[in-house]
């Protein structure tokens, strides 16, 4: 967990705008403003998948992935809490598999507290929060064994996954489970898309807690996030154009004169295709 370098003035200004955008939108949400968020099929299906487990009388298996104390794991915990709130009322058994030791006490505490918060503390079973050490494939094989033996009806894979992602998904498919996966790992997205029923990736993964809870504060932060994205995209576009101008040699010290000079524009469009 080493910090990567040091911030520049530009990074500081962008971070300032970012934080301000999020806080402003949170305040707007708290003031009662309706904020729109588009539908995310993978997250909409979470409740349906949990209900399927209840109907079939088979448990849910939730894989937290490989990473330890990391933002990916915390985002997964937020989704886990939502699923527990749904399944607790339906009295469906849930088995959570954990790979990393530092995360295990956090996960156990989160699961216990969530059951308690919905008024079902007796449903918490410490044996169903399983610490499965031994590395990537040991954890994956142990989780695959749980899915196969318990004949899970629903499998959730939310977290940091690597090569074992497809093995888990294929095992879930072999027992007829409905599978929903979410990860921020770029290279595992194709495997989850091919093998799972629903896939949540990229930004949607981190938006899950806001999407599922529908809390105004969380939605507000999502909108602030989108504002920041627009700013960064604008900066990228401006940087791209100015880089082309500088490289093509048509940039002049007086940008206003440059913009008004038709010869400069003609030369710019001639140079652009070369780059």
């Amino acid at each position: 967990m080493e910090a990567s370098g040091h911030a520049t003035v530009g990074v500081f200004l962008v971070a300032l705008f970012w934080t301000a955008a999020i806080i402003v939108n949170i305040l707007r949400a708290r003031a009662g403003r309706e904020l729109f968020i588009r539908r995310i099929p993978g997250l909409t299906a979470v409740d349906e998948a949990a209900g399927r487990s209840t109907e079939m009388g088979r448990p849910i298996v939730y894989g937290l992935g490989l990473m330890g104390i990391h933002i990916t794991t915390f985002a997964s915990l937020a989704i886990l809490q939502h699923i527990i709130r749904v399944t607790a009322r339906l009295r469906t058994r849930m088995i959570v598999s954990v790979c990393e030791a530092p995360v295990y006490p956090i996960v156990e505490e989160v699961v216990r507290d969530t059951y308690r918060s919905v008024g079902e503390p007796e449903q918490f079973n410490a044996d169903d929060v399983r610490y499965l050490p031994g590395g990537q494939f040991a954890w994956a094989l142990a989780t695959m064994g749980i899915i196969a033996r318990e004949k899970a009806a629903t499998c959730f894979y939310f977290g940091w996954y690597e090569a074992e992602s497809l093995m888990l998904a294929e095992t879930g498919f072999s027992v007829g489970a409905i599978q929903i996966a979410g990860t921020d790992q770029l290279h595992q997205i194709p495997f989850f898309v091919a093998a799972c029923d629903y896939c949540v990736f990229g930004e949607e993964y981190f938006a899950a807690s806001a999407y599922l809870s529908r809390e105004p504060v969380m939605l507000g932060s999502l909108v602030g996030q989108d504002w920041s994205k627009i700013l960064i995209l604008t900066l990228i576009l401006l940087g791209l154009i100015s880089a082309q101008m500088v490289e093509s040699g048509v940039w002049v010290h007086n940008p206003v004169r440059f913009l008004l000079d038709s010869w400069s524009w003609k030369h710019f469009w001639q140079i652009l295709p070369r780059h």
């Binding site: 911030a7 971070a15 970012w18 094989l141």
Partner: protein, 230 residues
């Protein structure tokens, strides 16, 4: 009160790293030293989590063995392996400086540890990894169906990339002009189209990760972390 205390501790803990990142200091100054101490502290706290996790594991298997529940022999095997691995690991303190991976030399505890690690664990991991090829074939056979033009486009791209990656693709098209060679097409697809899409995904993920981190740091994330009542 408890919720406020949790938020305060979370904010203070994150503040150290945020200030260190943005403050225009120099390597070796008090902020840099604080960050390093903070990271060491995090590692120590994480080690306590290791103890908790192992206690739960050993306790669960010990109870299963003591009560001779179904599958008790698996628990016995697990406990014996744990004792052997931890005992040998502590006795040998890992590898001696002159020991090379794959060499089963030295006193018997060292040999036993080497066999356990290099002779058993590593080949097992490699075997499991190799299973992935069959899983990929199985998933691809099941998932790749040309139902519409988008699926057809994806299939065409997959065929070009797969053939372009292997020597067979090069052998099939090396006599053609450069624009007709499969490896060239593969490179263009991966670098231009796929690369752009990956960057777009990474961009979104980074934005989402920073926003989630900010919510956690400021205590805005709802849930059991901050004792949300339903």
């Amino acid at each position: 009160m408890k919720r406020g205390l949790i938020r305060l501790i979370t904010f203070a803990a994150g503040l150290i790293l945020v200030v260190e990142y943005f403050w225009p200091g120099r390597p070796g100054d008090w902020l840099d030293v604080s960050r390093r101490n903070y990271l060491d502290f995090t590692a120590v706290v994480g080690a306590f989590g290791l103890g908790v996790g192992w206690y739960q594991l050993v306790h669960g298997h010990a109870v299963k063995l003591a009560r001779l529940r179904k599958g008790w022999f698996h628990s016995l095997g697990f406990l014996l392996t744990v004792v052997a691995a931890i005992g040998l690991g502590i006795y040998t303190r890992g590898m001696s400086p002159e020991h090379k991976p794959g060499e089963f030399a030295g006193p018997w505890p060292q040999q036993a540890w080497s066999y356990m690690t290099w002779g058993l664990m590593n080949p097992l991991v490699a075997s499991v990894f190799s299973l992935l090829a069959f899983y990929v074939a199985s998933a691809a056979y099941r998932a790749f169906r040309i139902k519409n033009w988008e699926a057809a486009l994806m299939m065409a791209a997959a065929i070009i990339v797969m053939l372009g990656q292997v020597p067979v693709g090069n052998a099939l098209t090396y006599h053609l002009p450069r624009w007709g060679q499969l490896p060239v097409w593969k490179t263009w697809i991966m670098a231009t189209i796929n690369g752009s899409a990956q960057r777009a995904l990474l961009f979104g993920m980074a934005v989402g990760a920073i926003a989630t981190s900010l919510r956690l740091w400021l205590g805005l994330e709802r849930g059991a972390f901050f004792e949300r009542r339903l």
